[in-house]
């Protein structure tokens, strides 16, 4: 019996891994094919002549002096992975066109960013100014994406022209990182302390800190799209998002060494929200004979979303959490309806989102499965 379970686990773990790898490979291939089509979409061959110089630089000629020069294609690290930028400059290095040709940012967020205004401002600077840094201010509320755009311009230009740049590593340790470390430590302490009163104090303190700071102030939970971005090979820029590595690494390490999912228990801001709602409505744990089936549905859903996003090569496609809707009031109408249902449910049953819908539950369950297999 025990042997049988072990084999079953092995099949599940490796099966999922194979599916993810296949989906990622397929998605990558599709992306490469579309590159040339993308340029031609902006510069149709009837009016323009394009000639490939290298992977990042194309020569452009046409009757219009403004639209002849170079095209650079570069990538910047956005919130959910790469943002591909196409810059067209005239012979003086002035930017005449600046386009985002592909991005993996979640559409509902992306549209909020007034990106068109930003692009206009960004194209008023010479392309050379991007080599040394960020010549214009990032759009507040879209810092990562605006930085990604500037990074994409720099990346295309420097790679296309073989300009050497130093990309030094300076992980910044700010308030956010401090809070995350504190929450991780509190989560670990909870595993060892037996005194109920102290446990309760620590748990509620960290829940409220997470609710307020990770939720409302920074709005930085772990989201599925970021996991997919990593699976897709796009690691967030450690210079700006050191916190993310701390959060994800800490949570996974905690599972490996203590078997406990401290992220969901006491760090996730939306779990904190549900705890508060549960306290308000005196919610009870929901027991149903279909519990297992609902759980498989939840995990299958997560896997499906991951595979979908990998095949589309677009991590944003895996986004279905309601964090944004709850903490920042961003998201589609459907997500708001879901959020409404979840909030009402949370008043009566304990943590409905975590138990029946949250994708991170599946991700951490998978990590724990691997851990259990190896430790045996």
């Amino acid at each position: 019996m025990m042997m049988k379970k072990k084999y079953r686990d092995l099949i599940i773990v490796s099966g999922i891994a194979v599916m993810i790898i296949l989906a990622a490979v397929y998605g990558k291939r599709r992306d490469a094919e579309t590159q040339k089509e993308l340029i031609e979409a902006f510069f149709p061959s009837s009016q323009y002549h394009i000639e490939r110089v290298n992977g990042n630089k194309w020569k452009l000629s046409s009757s219009n002096l403004l639209y002849s020069g170079n095209i650079y294609i570069g990538e910047g690290k956005g919130y959910n992975g790469a943002v591909s930028i196409m810059v067209q400059t005239d012979h003086q290095g002035r930017i005449s066109q600046l386009n985002i040709i592909a991005n993996h940012e979640t559409p509902s967020y992306f549209q909020k960013l007034k990106i068109n205004n930003f692009l206009k401002t960004a194209s008023q600077v010479k392309i050379g100014d991007y080599v040394s840094g960020e010549p214009i201010d990032a759009v507040s509320g879209a810092t990562i994406t605006s930085r990604a755009i500037m990074q994409g311009i720099r990346n295309g230009n420097t790679k296309g022209e073989n300009i050497a740049v130093s990309n030094s590593f300076h992980p910044s340790f700010g308030i956010l990182e401090f809070i995350i470390v504190a929450l991780l430590i509190a989560g670990l302490i909870l595993q060892v302390i037996k005194n109920r009163k102290i446990r309760r104090t620590i748990r509620w303190t960290s829940l409220i800190v997470s609710f307020a700071m990770l939720g409302f102030v920074y709005n930085q939970p772990i989201t599925l799209s970021r996991i997919v971005a990593i699976l897709n090979g796009h690691f967030p820029d450690i210079r700006y998002e050191f916190y993310f590595y701390l959060l994800l690494g800490g949570s996974i390490m905690a599972i490996i060494f203590t078997k406990k999912n401290i992220y969901c228990r006491s760090i996730c801001p939306f779990s904190a929200a549900q705890e508060i709602l549960a306290k308000t409505g005196r919610a009870k744990t929901f027991h149903t004979k279909y519990y297992r089936r609902l759980k498989y549905l939840q995990w299958g859903f997560t896997l499906g979303a991951i595979l979908l996003a990998l095949v589309l090569n677009n991590p944003g496609a895996a986004q279905y959490e309601v964090f944004g809707a709850f903490f920042q009031l961003t998201g589609t109408v459907i997500l708001f309806v879901v959020l409404f249902i979840v909030v009402i449910l949370s008043l009566f049953i304990y943590r409905p989102w975590c138990n029946f819908m949250c994708p991170m539950d599946g991700v951490f369950a998978y990590v724990r499965m691997i851990r259990n297999m190896i430790s045996k």
Binding site: L277, T280, G281, R282, L329, F336, F340, V343, I344, L347
Partner: protein, 97 residues
């Protein structure tokens, strides 16, 4: 409120006053007929909740009246949601013990 009449406005508010009185009396009877034990702060919270709900609805509809439809819906759903949650919490508080 009633642009072509000077009397309908005051009448409206008289009727509204009546409605609030009746609903308060009705609530009082519900409470006294049930096992719920009320005290001053429970009364205060209940009244504040109902007042807040009124203001939320009036606020949302004021925005509708200003042709700010989107803002009105946002206002109603965000604060309405908050008031539903508070309402459940308040109910649990009233019925506790």
């Amino acid at each position: 409120m009633f642009p072509n009449s000077t009397i309908l406005g005051p009448l409206f508010w008289i009727v509204m006053g009546g409605l609030y009185t009746i609903s308060f009396t009705g609530f009082y009877y519900w409470i006294t007929d049930s096992i719920i034990k009320m005290n001053w702060w429970k009364w205060l919270l209940s009244i504040l909740w109902f007042l807040g709900l009124n203001i939320t609805i009036a606020g949302g509809f004021t925005l509708f009246g200003e042709k700010e439809i989107r803002a009105g819906f946002w206002f109603l759903s965000v604060f309405g949601g908050v008031f539903i949650v508070l309402g459940v919490g308040l109910w649990r508080l009233l019925t506790s013990r």
